[in-house]
Amino acid sequence: MSLTAIANQGTKVSDPARPQIAFSNVTLDLGGKIILENISLDVNPGEFLCIVGASGCGKTTALRLAAGLYQPTSGAVTFDGKPMLAPRRDIAIVFQDYGKALLPWRTAAGNVSLALEASGVASSSRSARINELLKKVGLPNHAGKYPAEMSGGMQQRLQIARCLAQEPKALLMDEPFGALDAMTRQGLQDEVLSLARASNATVVFVTHDLEEAIYLGDRVIGLLPHPGRIGIELKIDLPRRRDQLTTRENPQFLALRRQLFDFIKASEP
């Protein structure tokens, strides 16, 4: 039985009492330009939240705020109730440009090792962990390869493996499959779903692909541009066990797609 099948049978764990990631009235002003305005958003533990929006609407910026890479101009971002003043090791970020986010002078194993070294994992137990993580993302036989010797899909898997090495409570993904071909992208969508379920991590997934957002998410947020603000929030009540064919043919899926498509179209000038 594949990992996907096992993971999709799990149930969603959420604690509505306390959100894991919370934006309260967050405004971000970068050099006199308001990028995000008055964003309030709760992400529950274990939730899979997707953020969509037209180009330049601040999707990526919102993710960077959640990561602690930016600080809000006003309002607050909290994680487990504590203010996010700096990045945390239990929040992992998957960047879109995997080619730039990996260390080209380290092998696949070495790149995963970086996260373990950062967490202070003893060198004796690293190699077992590395093998386990590479296996988890489907790269068990590529430990000795350098990123330059790997395809785009493999490099993105490697970045995901490095993020999983952080044992994150939250996984922030910034258009992670935007640069990949359609087939690779679908395969990775299912793997991310199964990995997220297996690890129980909260996922915030930024994408410009509306179908991808509906397919993956428990909830989809649509941002309006200039300045970035929340324009639509859709609860995705599709059966949790998603399937590339049946889910995408589900009438509910198609209705959601229409709704989101109309929203994005209306948001563009």
């Binding site: 990045p87 970020i93 970086l114």
Partner: protein, 254 residues
């Protein structure tokens, strides 16, 4: 047919042959020129009595010692300037004021302070070697992929680890390139100091041959300095490939 690789040698060999024929035909008597055969004989003699080896040792010791001292200073300063922007702004005017001073202009001061010999030459070579490493390692740190620095922030690497595991490996190919440039400069400056004033090494040997009206020996030293410089660079290129084959991919340095 001439093999492809040998074509590069056609012109130099032809030039040598023409020079030799011309020198013999005109029974060349000159204080500045000598037939190639006489130069080769002088070179062989200099090897036989060991004088050229001693001179080569003196020049290379000074050049390398200066390169190591100056390179270490330049590298440390350059990395620090690249990492700490405040330090960079603080030092900018000072560095730009000192850098244009030709290293040879320090000769009178160095001579008074240190006298003839290795020390004075090493100091001047070191001064000249600081700049390529300082400027290029500062630029190399500045050119590190910002995404990698973000990754190191997201992983909360300690400042030391950030430098050890991200900054240095990412900057290494460019730093090695800077080292190669500095090595060339170090040899030039060492020989210049010797020609100008310091009575050791290859530069001084050229001057002695000139004053002894031995153009053959003078040109033999000139040829030898060319060979040493070529060998130095070739050795460093090979070392670069072997040491940083993988890292070289990282820094866009072909």
């Amino acid at each position: 047919m001439i093999p492809e690789r040998a074509k590069a040698f056609v012109l130099p060999v032809a030039t040598l042959v023409v020079l030799e024929l011309w020198a013999r035909a005109t029974h060349l008597q000159s204080d500045s020129l000598a037939p190639p055969s006489a130069i080769a004989v002088a070179l062989a003699e200099a090897f036989q009595d060991g004088s050229i080896l001693v001179a080569t040792r003196d020049t290379l010791v000074s050049a390398f010692a200066g390169l190591l001292v100056g390179g270490a200073v330049g590298l440390t300063l350059g990395m620090a300037l690249g990492i700490f922007r405040i330090f960079d702004r603080l030092m900018e005017v000072t560095i730009e004021a000192i850098r244009p001073i030709p290293s040879i202009a320090l000769l009178p001061i160095a001579l008074i302070a240190l006298g003839f010999g290795y020390r004075m030459e090493i100091v001047i070579v070191a001064f000249a070697s600081v700049w390529p490493l300082l400027i290029l390692s500062r630029a190399a740190v500045g050119a590190i992929e910002p995404r990698l620095l973000e990754v190191s922030r997201a992983l909360r690497l300690s400042p030391l680890d950030r430098v050890r595991k991200i900054v240095i490996p990412a900057a290494l190919p460019r730093i090695f390139l800077a080292f190669r440039l500095a090595a060339g400069i170090a040899l030039i400056v060492a020989v210049t100091v010797e020609i100008a004033i310091n009575p050791i090494g290859l530069g001084a040997a050229i001057m002695t041959a000139q004053q002894a009206l031995r153009p053959d020996l003078m040109l033999a030293y000139l040829v030898w300095i060319g060979i040493v410089g070529y060998g130095l660079n070739a050795g460093l290129v090979v070392a670069q490939r072997h040491l940083f084959g993988r890292a070289a991919l990282a820094g866009d340095v072909a």
